[in-house]
Amino acid sequence: MNVKGTLPVLILEAIARTPSHGYRIAQEIKERSKGVLDFKEGTLYPALHKLESEGMVESYEETENARPRRYYRITRAGRTALARDRKEWREVSQAVTMILGEA
C-alpha cells in the first residue's frame, strides 16, 4: 500500500515510545502494519529531515555495536502533531467505514 503523505505521522508514531534509528523505524512500520504498509526505505530519511527542520523530531548520535548511529526522538511539538493527526485519522477512518461498510 502507498504510504505517501502518511509517512511522517507513521514515523512519529514509531518513535513516540522510544528513540530509534532509521532502519529500525522502517522495520517497525512494516512489522506493525504486518507488511501492508510497504514503502521504499530511501524516502524515509528525507521525511525524517523534514520532520527535523519542522521541529517535530530531534536527532543525536549514539554508538550501537561499535558503529555510530543517528537516533531520532520525538519533540513536544511532534507529540502535539501526532495527537492531532491520530484524532483526525480516527474521524476520517470512521467516516469512510460508515460509507464503505454500507456497500
Binding site: 534509528h21 532509521g22 521504499k40 524516502t43 530519511y45
Partner: protein, 212 residues
Amino acid sequence: MPAIWEDWVSQATRKLSAESKATVRAEIQAHFEMSREAAMTRGLDEAAAEREALAALGDPREANRQYRLTLLTSSEARVLRKTSHEAKCVMSNAFLKWTLRLAPVAIGTAALAVLRKGDTGLGQDLALGAAAMAVLLLGPMLPVYTRSRSLVYRSVKWIALAVLCLAAFGGTNRQGGLLAFVVLWPVLHAEWIRTSIRRKLPQARWPKQLYL
C-alpha cells in the same frame, strides 16, 4: 561499499550540496549495512543480501527528488555562503558600516531641504529613497532574530522595494512596470532561493542574513 551502492548514492545525491551529500551517504550507508546484515542472518549470501538491501531503498531518482526538497542543494548552499560572506564583509568594515548607516539619514536630510525649497517632486522621491534605503541597509543592525520579527521585516522590505521601484520607473504605464520587474527580478530570484533555504534549514542554524 559495493559498486551498486555507490551508483545508487551518486544518483540519490545529484545536485545536493557537499554537506548534504555527506549526510545522505552516512545515513544510507548505515541503513544499507543493517539491511544487508539482516538479510544475511536470514540465510542469503552476500551478493543476494546486497541486492535485496538496495531494492528496499527503492528508486534513487525518487529519493533524490525527496532529498532536494528537504536538504540544501548546491545552488542554495552557494547562495547561503555568498550571503553570509557579503554580510561579514560589510559588518567587519567600520567605514562601510557607518556609511550604510548614515546614507539614509543624509538622503533624508537632503529630501527635507529640497522640500523646504519647494521642489515637491524631487523632495518626495528623495524621501522615498531614504526610507527604502533605511529599510534595506539598516536591516543587519536591527534585532531581527525570531521568525515573527523576520516576517514583519521582510514584509516591510518588500513593500518598500515595490513602492520605490514603481515610483522610480512609473508603475502606472506598462513599460515602467516591466522595467520595475526587470530590476526586481534578481532580488526576487535570490529571495525565492532564500525562502527554500529557510524551509530546509532548522532555525537554530539560520545565519543573521536569513532573517532579513
